[in-house]
């Protein structure tokens, strides 16, 4: 059971070119600041925000109430030249929570609908066990970062990420997010070790990039995420592909 929040900047596309195209360096700084802000805001309630596409952030937000969301939304409106709308949904399977939040958001109005301003659609509140998977690339530094040029490294990481995301979403109902470097995080619905092994093999077959994964389980997404990272550290030390860590309640 996971609560997911979809955050969308209201009418952002038109704003970036009104009255004329705004400087890219300013837009990049704005988007990154806004994302950092959402990371801190959801983080202060034990959640985690993923930048996804920057104008469209997905966060896992168990424990963040409707009132908390309203305060975060109002805070953004008070500190940025743009506003955000939010949709919050809970579901056993992370994919369905994302899909439900997306439907709720679309019912409030399109991303370029000037009438949608600070909409908040909330249907969250039920929590339970969370499973988080943290992937990275085996030996990325020696194999990629320090050997080929930086851009080819990015291309390889990119391909593996696209393949991983597609598999996790379509076959395992799991949204996957890039979190920097060669790291990706999936919200997973209680998958088993052999399912992760199958995914790692399929990504390698398709892209020649070998991944590892740590899997964390807990009653809170933050602790599940930390356990997943510990799992990844253990898998590195022990030379195994998949490592589970269950954090105490």
């Amino acid at each position: 059971m996971v609560q997911v929040t979809l955050v969308q900047i209201d009418n952002y596309g038109p704003w970036t070119v009104t009255p004329e195209p705004r400087r890219e360096a300013d837009l990049q700084a704005l988007q990154a600041e806004l994302y950092a802000d959402l990371s801190r805001a959801f983080g202060s309630h034990g959640g985690t925000a993923f930048y996804n596409r920057f104008d469209n952030v997905v966060a896992v937000t168990d424990g963040t109430t409707e009132e908390d969301h309203r305060a975060i939304q109002r805070g953004i409106g008070n500190r940025y030249p743009v506003t955000v709308s939010m949709a919050v949904a809970s579901h056993e399977r992370p994919r369905h929570a994302v899909e439900r939040a997306t439907e709720m958001m679309q019912r409030e109005g399109g991303a370029q609908d000037a009438a949608r301003v600070e909409a908040l659609a909330y249907d969250g509140g039920v929590h339970g066990d969370v499973q988080v998977a943290h992937f990275d690339v085996e030996d990325v530094t020696t194999q990629y970062t320090d050997r080929v040029d930086a851009f080819e490294a990015t291309l390889s990481v990119q391909s593996a990420y696209t393949e991983l995301s597609r598999l996790m979403w379509r076959e395992h109902d799991s949204p996957t997010f890039f979190v920097g470097g060669d790291n990706y995080v999936s919200l997973t619905p209680g998958l088993a070790e052999q399912e992760f092994e199958g995914v790692l093999d399929a990504v390698e077959a398709a892209t020649d990039v070998r991944l590892r994964v740590g899997v964390g389980e807990s009653t809170s997404p933050e602790r599940a995420g930390l356990s997943a990272k510990q799992g990844l550290e253990h898998s590195r030390e022990r030379g195994v592909a998949v490592e589970f860590v269950r954090s105490p309640a």
Copy 2:
């Protein structure tokens, strides 16, 4: 002729798990803040930073001197718990500038080499005409954002980006960067209209995603970037696939 700066966080991977894995929400906020900071810093000298992989930022920095780089680097060291190393190279072809900067960075030490702290390798300084291409997806809002679920939209955008990046890099010596939403920016070595058309067709053939592109040309990367956005606006209004804008000196 373009000057490119590669920025790499020193020994970042080990830091994120020392003494134990740090909270993901904090790392996301840190990375996004650091990137926002680099965007503003290079932006204040007329350049633009691209987040690339977050721990590995590439910036186009014509007009930013070695001393400016040193000041930006020292400022990061004074305000963050991590330091950054930088390598700066100029070349006629953007790809070669990135490759040269990468080699220079690697000569300073690996990304996880604890001895590499605030290295600065500078071989820039020569400037000239810059060509920037700004791509987006035709009708992304009606076709993707407001119709399918947010995550499938991300997957489509992701595939198109991976394909576009690969083509631009391998066949046109052009690094390409995701700049949020469905927008990508390439640094291009004076490509012609039919070359862009070939790329758009190839991306569509491979991924079913139809892109448009505005191409800006100027003596400064900032003005070239703004011209590229204006070109994209014009292409949208006029219903054409490729639109060039040459900004006055």
Copy 3:
């Protein structure tokens, strides 16, 4: 009854000059970022942080638990080159809460004691009614900002603030904070209208600056603060010196 948190940067003075004096522009940006961060972090739990002396922030934090404090503290440590210690105390009278927090902090070690790292002394948790007073200068724009030079305006505001702070602290057990422009906020222990009138008269007698005040009362500091601002708006419209607003629970 109010819960107050004292936040102190650990060993900050020595850090600013090690290995040699750091650039002032960097230190100013660091301090302001850190303060903005604390504002958002306590704000996300319904509290408010006051910058006080930058290296020594005081926050009213009813509703922020010991665990929340620990998470905020750890987040700072993960995103800044410095760490902070915190002391949290509750008391009927705001002054005594500040004094108690100060004693608790000092027991953890001095501000330049290298051994004090991320100390957290917590003795909060009891809440109740909160009274907040929001002061500003009558007609500051026409009388000061747009007439005399900016610096003389600052000097006048400064004098009034020093006088107000001294009176509120010594005679009314109320800490007072500058919140920008010509605005000051006091945490007050249920003062009556005539007590505020006495303070306004005394400040005017000493400094020739005439203040107004809105007083908010609520069970939460955030709502009390908003009510205080509404009171100030009302006092401006109605031309009175003191205006109370009690927010519904």
Copy 4:
């Protein structure tokens, strides 16, 4: 000769209460972020911004051109819900530069004049030798921070600052800024050692607080500021009240 920039948020007072009073925690974060941003922006051109009253920032900006100012102003407009106006003036005596910038700003419209939006009045450009004085309190940690309560410490620091500012402004044509903790910085017009000694004695006579000062001289405000800090370090080590450092060109 010093170039000074006055930055004022446009129509800020009315904005903070429209449509109703905004949450103080959000305003504090906004103001601090905006100030941090100005610190970085002017800092990237070798200048330093002082927060003054938050809505009214004064910066020393030798070397920041009119075009740089325009870019900083536009960047603020692109990333914040508010805009800023700027006035830039150069003068031999820092006080007269501030006064001239203030007059220029007022001619553009009042601080609450809704018609003044992103005004930029520029009359800078001439540079020369800069003298900067950096003051702090002798033994502040042992005498104040770790002994009396935090708020009394603030009151003492506050009184000394008000007295110092008044003397420096009225008798020595020098604007003085609080930079955090117990530190103040003055822009001074080539004062001599005995003039500083006179100021320190007068502040002590009026407030019982004993200050020290380091004085830096250079052709750039940044280097002058760093020299002033080195001077302060030397004065601490050598137990003297005033220490001059002249940095090489």
